[in-house]
């Protein structure tokens, strides 16, 4: 530890008084900065950076993320003959969005009235062409097989998934590392070579060498209030972007509302749904939870009353997002990601509102998140493969456009994670057979270690909590990412670019928890920039992207997805990829 830094047991106030005197404190208070809250202040480390230890691990296939996609990726890569390691920021089956998903879709051709072809065509009509039909079909085609495996593992017997996720991992003796924050993907000689991160429980940096990496890191948001994704900050997307992967889907928005009262209490807002056992859903195609309801609230200034027809939810407001006639709601509230058929829905007369839609709903509980599976790494084929050799993604980390840019099939989000996890696991394992274990140079390891430790080593800087709250203040208001227009998108972008240029390099951390927050905050800033720039670029309105200044759908110019990648000069680059095509 450097001698200029105060000892960990010294209080921040005492240090400030010594360093700047009371005049310094008064000046900071006048600027609105409180040294007690530590927005911008000296860093007082609680740990000794010089005592951090290092550990190297090796596997054929490294799976990052312990949700539904990660589970199947690890199992299938193992079963295909690879040595697998599964690393999770949280606990297996208890982090990301998986613990809160209670409906899983099964396409059972023996009981459905619709054929697989008809199902894909119906989803495509609802998604207004934004879906990748290959992934829509793949999800439906493989869903029942994955559900049968889940049933064997006991998935449908408990509302808590850790035990039944652990079963197939233990049976196969797959190496599992939990509470590890992965901060870097490592690329050597043009191919993926592993990843690196740190433990939240011991002062240790971990390097993972692998022939192939599968990102099952979920999507993310801006740690929004009322939606259980505050541990998801697009870590996978940003890490992959940093090594040259293409990402997509940043202009789309999940439109989940939350409650006005105790807005942050997602458990309460979801009416105890988290305590339910999961169930299976059948074919039921919608056009849900885009921003049409949010537009109504924006236009009228009133919370939209949910509930049965006649309860106020059917008030007609001119303009707003286009909903195809075939999929217009006629019977009460939108169903969205409602729980499983046959499960116990929230008790409400005449119709049950989906999560977050009871009482007085206000928009934006999931701010920063797109429609499931519409954002993430760009797949170059139907094998969940990215443009970086050896790097795969599955579930919400893959921009597969399985459902399109709007919610189409209830329960398909969880089914899609299972299906894609399995596909990615098998594909990654096949890839490994043809490659040698990559070498990671000492120089690369040193570089990564230094980057991981940088926030801990900073003697002063910005607290990740303050930067996150500032970012929320910029991105979450309804007139930025929900009801979009050029002037406001540009205004928000100016703030976000300031955070990226000036504040991101000065994020500080006093302990391992804050180190995690520092990386999460940095990832959210990059994601916000992507979101604003992609929203500016798409000069039309469709599905969950609504531009007040371009309210119509533009099929002539915009039957295309937007891909984002890092240019050779480090700048953020954008390109169009026509719907129903693969990257060239």
């Amino acid at each position: 530890m450097k001698s200029s830094q105060p000892k960990p047991d010294m209080s921040r106030r005492k240090f400030m008084a010594l360093a700047g005197g009371t005049a310094g404190l008064a000046a900071m208070a006048a600027m609105g900065l409180s040294p007690e809250q530590g927005e911008c202040s000296p860093n007082i480390p609680a740990i000794d950076v010089d005592k951090m230890t290092y550990a190297e691990n090796e596997a054929d296939v490294l799976v990052i993320g312990g949700g539904m996609a990660g589970l199947f990726a690890a199992v299938k890569a193992h079963d295909a003959g690879s040595k697998v390691m599964l690393v999770s920021k949280g606990r297996l089956g208890a982090s990301g969005q998986t613990p809160f998903a209670k409906g899983i879709f099964a396409f059972d051709s023996s009981s459905e009235k619709m054929t697989l072809d008809e199902f894909v065509a119906t989803v495509t009509r609802s998604a207004l062409g934004t879906n990748n039909q290959v992934y829509t079909r793949q999800m439906a085609e493989h869903s029942l097989a994955r559900i049968n495996e889940l049933r064997e593992w006991g998935f449908f017997e408990s509302p808590l998934y850790n035990k039944n996720f652990t079963k197939p991992i233990k049976e196969r003796n797959i190496a599992l590392k939990e509470r590890i924050v992965i901060t870097h993907l490592i690329k050597e000689n043009g191919s993926v070579a592993g990843a690196a991160g740190f433990s939240q429980d011991e002062e240790k940096i971990l390097i993972f060498k692998a022939k192939s990496v599968i990102l099952c890191t979920g999507a993310g948001g801006f740690k929004p209030n009322g939606f259980p994704i505050c541990d998801l900050t697009h870590d996978g997307t940003v890490m992959a972007y940093n090594i040259g992967a293409k990402v997509t889907g940043k202009e789309w928005n999940d439109g989940h509302p939350g409650r006005a009262k105790n807005a942050a209490a997602c458990f309460d807002g979801w009416h105890g749904m988290f305590e339910r056992k999961p169930g299976i859903t059948g074919v039921e195609v919608h056009h849900d939870l885009g921003v049409d309801l949010n537009y109504k609230v924006y236009a009228t200034g009133n919370a939209v009353k949910m509930g049965p027809p006649g309860a106020g939810g059917r008030e007609v407001v001119a303009g707003g997002p286009y909903v195809p006639e075939e999929f217009k709601r006629r019977n009460g509230p939108p169903q969205g990601e409602k729980g499983p058929r046959g499960g116990r829905p929230p008790e409400r007369e005449g119709g049950a509102p989906p999560p977050g839609m009871g009482e007085e709903p206000v928009g934006g509980s999931s701010a920063g998140m797109a429609i499931h599976k519409s954002e993430g790494l760009v797949p170059i084929n139907d094998k969940c493969e990215s443009n970086i050799p050896g790097l795969y993604a599955a579930g919400d980390a893959l921009g597969s456009y399985m459902a399109g840019a709007i919610y189409t099939q209830i329960g398909s989000s969880l089914a899609g994670s299972a299906v894609q996890g399995a596909v990615a696991g098998q594909s990654a394992s096949e890839y490994c057979r043809g490659v040698e274990m990559p070498a990671i140079s000492e120089a690369k390891m040193d570089e990564v270690r230094e980057e991981i430790l940088a926030p801990l080593k900073r003697e002063s800087g910005y607290s990740p909590a303050w930067v996150t709250q500032t970012l929320q203040g910029i991105m979450i208001p309804n007139f930025i990412i929900y009801i979009k227009k050029e002037r406001l998108l540009k205004a928000a972008l100016a703030y976000v670019e300031e955070l990226r240029e000036h504040h991101l390099p000065m994020l500080r951390a006093a302990d391992l928890h804050e180190l995690r927050l520092a990386f999460e905050t940095a990832n959210m800033i990059i994601s916000a920039e992507m979101k604003l720039k992609a929203s500016l670029m798409r000069t039309e309105s469709r599905c969950s992207h609504f531009r007040l200044d371009y309210p119509e759908m533009d099929t002539e110019n915009w039957n295309a997805w937007i891909n984002i990648y890092k240019g050779s000069d480090g700048s953020m680059q954008f390109e169009k990829q026509p719907f129903d095509s693969w990257p060239t």
């Binding site: 613990p99 009322g226 505050c230 006005a260 942050a264 458990f267 928009g363 929900y482």
Partner: protein, 71 residues
């Protein structure tokens, strides 16, 4: 406060492992769980649901100001 109190903790550490946002830690000496980073609680109740002795009580109020899209 999001997690209000922890009473009757047996020190098994499951809640610490379970919390998606790393709010809880175990006391080094007593092994009992305590709320170390309350501002990061997303009020999802996973810790309470996984606790084998039902020791955790949670309130719906967030400990820091809440930013929402519509006020």
């Amino acid at each position: 406060m999001s997690i209000e109190h922890i009473k009757g903790c047996i020190g098994c550490g499951i809640c610490v492992q379970t919390c998606p946002t790393d709010v809880l830690r175990q006391d080094v000496k007593t092994k009992k769980a305590f709320i170390k980073y309350p501002a990061d609680c997303q009020i999802c109740h996973l810790c309470r649901m996984y606790c084998p002795v039902d020791a955790i009580t949670i309130s719906p109020e967030k400990s820091i100001p809440v930013v929402v899209s519509w006020g």
